[in-house]
């Protein structure tokens, strides 16, 4: 069992090794800290590594194991969290140096829940500053790179969250998803990205981008790990106005169910979601559909609402909300904002109030129309993205005759479900001929994450949809064993 094996193990596999005393929590944490030190200059996954705090938490986990106290599957599991999420005693940078006025005074509830479960925070993950953008480009901390090809983007805005897991620098990560910012980087990096129902996980202590669209999400190696994290994090928070007082299901038990998916119906919205996408990605999505049909599910075509103006509706809601949030900092600390974000905020300034309210009413329309579709199906399936991870410097893409800015293309299949608030998960559907991850997206009924995760686990069970580890890992390891400095890889500038 090499360090590399452990670094790419799932939380459930690591849990078995920890409980069998084949490795201690401190040893595991030291392993990940060493990898973070060695690989952060390449991956740009972290904005901050918190070694002392991590080792302290790991010692506490070892003590708990020695006492026979076992709070569950996340004990001693190393995780990172997007640098939008408060950790007591550390500044929340939002991905911009100088933004934070001081350290956070308390853990966000999601961090507190993970600590209570014995998980070990390794530090804060890099991001597209203030979660504004799908490319993950970051002026102050560098741009996180894709573990399958360091000349390509990890995706964003939770870019460091995805890179930290994909590079084997953490086992899981927390991110935020306003238009696909958890699902898209997970999809491009060969991981599992879960955005639960709007209001399922508390956003208190998390720097907002757009209150109406923000979701807390997770990036993991496996569906089971996503379920374990959701089991820990799902809760009603009366101090979060968006939090939903809905009962929390058992997300883990249904995953091991060997029964076929008989009785479940998978809806396929071919219009819009299967158009202007890479042929290999579409073929992989069709293969997943056939697999689910083979597992007993019914598959039928459905029509989601007209999408022509969906991106406009999302922008019309999010930019005035972002401007309102950043208003005081914009006046006090204008230098912390990059040109791209300032341009977006300026756009938010001139959106008329009636247009903003109309967009929020159209969100209600989208929700009702989508809910009507879910009267006839249990889960929707779409490709996660229309393209594989773009190369650095890509400005626009042209797929199937549709030319659009690369960021728009990356989020094209995900943003709609931030407006409707339905739970959605992305997971691998195979490797492209270029050796890059392809993924599908599954979308479920409100608060029915249990069924969503069960269907996702059926997909994951199929060997042909699983991905090999990033080649990068083996190259890095060889470079370090040879005593060579750096990766030996040719890289383009990260930003």
């Amino acid at each position: 069992m090499s360090d590399g094996d452990l670094a790419f193990d799932s939380a459930s596999d690591l849990g078995r090794l920890l409980r069998a005393r084949r490795i201690s929590a401190v040893e595991l944490t030291q392993l990940f800290l060493a990898r973070a030190e060695a690989l952060n200059s390449l991956s740009k996954a972290f904005t901050r590594v918190t070694e002392t705090e991590a080792l302290k938490a790991a010692k506490a986990a070892d003590s708990a194991l020695a006492r026979g106290d076992d709070p569950g599957p996340l004990l001693a599991i190393p995780f990172t969290s997007k640098d939008m999420i408060d950790i007591a005693g550390q500044p929340t940078s939002g991905g911009a140096k100088g933004f934070a006025d001081g350290p956070a005074t308390a853990d966000a509830p999601v961090i507190a829940s993970l600590r209570a479960a014995g998980a070990v925070s390794l530090g804060k993950a890099n991001l597209h500053a203030f979660a504004y953008g799908a490319t993950g480009e970051n002026r102050d901390f560098g741009t996180a790179v894709n573990a399958y090809d360091p000349g390509r983007l990890a995706g964003g805005s939770s870019s460091g969250s995805a890179a930290s897991v994909a590079f084997g620098l953490a086992t899981a990560s927390l991110g935020t998803d306003t238009g696909g910012s958890v699902r898209v980087p997970a999809a491009l990096s060969g991981l599992v990205g879960l955005k639960p129902t709007y209001g399922r996980i508390s956003l208190r202590g998390v720097l907002p981008f757009s209150w109406s669209l923000d979701h807390l999400g997770t990036i993991t190696r496996t569906v089971r790990d996503a379920a374990a994290l959701l089991q820990c994090l799902a809760a009603f928070d009366p101090q979060d106005p968006a939090s939903a007082p809905e009962p929390v299901s058992d997300y883990l038990s249904p995953l091991g169910d060997p029964a076929p998916l008989t009785g479940l119906t998978i809806g396929v919205p071919r219009r819009f979601f299967f158009e202007h996408a890479d042929d290999e990605i579409l073929a992989a999505a069709e293969a997943v559909l056939l697999s689910l049909e083979g597992a007993g599910a019914k598959v039928r075509e459905v029509a989601l609402p007209e999408m022509t103006h969906a991106r406009t509706v999302a922008l019309t809601v999010q930019m005035p909300e972002a401007l309102s949030l950043h208003a005081s900092h914009l006046d006090r600390k204008p230098e912390v904002y990059s040109d791209d974000f300032r341009a977006g905020l300026a756009l938010g300034q001139f959106i008329l109030a009636e247009h903003f309210i109309r967009a929020k009413r159209i969100m209600t329309l989208y929700r009702r129309q989508t809910e009507a579709v879910f009267d006839g199906v249990d889960v929707l399936l779409t490709p996660a993205t229309p393209l594989v991870a773009p190369e650095f410097g890509t400005v626009s893409t042209k797929i199937g005759g549709l030319e659009e800015p690369v960021g728009n293309a990356m989020m094209r299949f995900s943003t709609f479900f931030n407006m409707t608030g339905h739970p959605a998960i992305t997971l691998p559907s195979g490797l492209s001929s270029q050796g890059l991850p392809m993924s599908v997206q599954l979308v479920g009924r409100y608060f029915d994450e249990a069924k969503l995760l069960r269907v996702a686990s059926k997909v994951e069970e199929e060997e042909r949809f699983r991905l090999p580890r990033p080649l990068l890992h083996r190259q890095e390891k060889a470079a370090r064993e040879d005593g060579a400095e750096g990766s030996g890889l040719t890289r383009r500038p990260a930003s």
Binding site: A343, F350, R358
Partner: protein, 72 residues
């Protein structure tokens, strides 16, 4: 709808309670050159199209709730 003019936005900055936007930022909204945004004019054109949608008495979106269905 007339095309948006840079002067309209500059005047709004002076006459409405706005943040301080630079000339370059205002110009970028009206005539995007850097690919930072895809153009305010496009957004306004789409807003104009959305005005044709009759939303009746639909309220703005707030939180979501689980729906109990016949098959559950």
């Amino acid at each position: 709808m007339d095309p948006l003019q840079r002067e309209t936005l500059l005047r709004a900055c002076r006459q409405l309670a706005c943040h301080d936007w630079s000339d370059a930022e205002i110009t970028e909204l009206v005539a995007p050159r850097h690919g930072i945004i895809t153009g305010f004019q496009d957004l306004l054109t789409q807003q104009d199209a959305l005005r044709a949608l009759d939303l009746g008495t639909l309220p703005p979106a707030e939180g979501v709730r689980a729906k109990v269905r016949d098959d559950e």
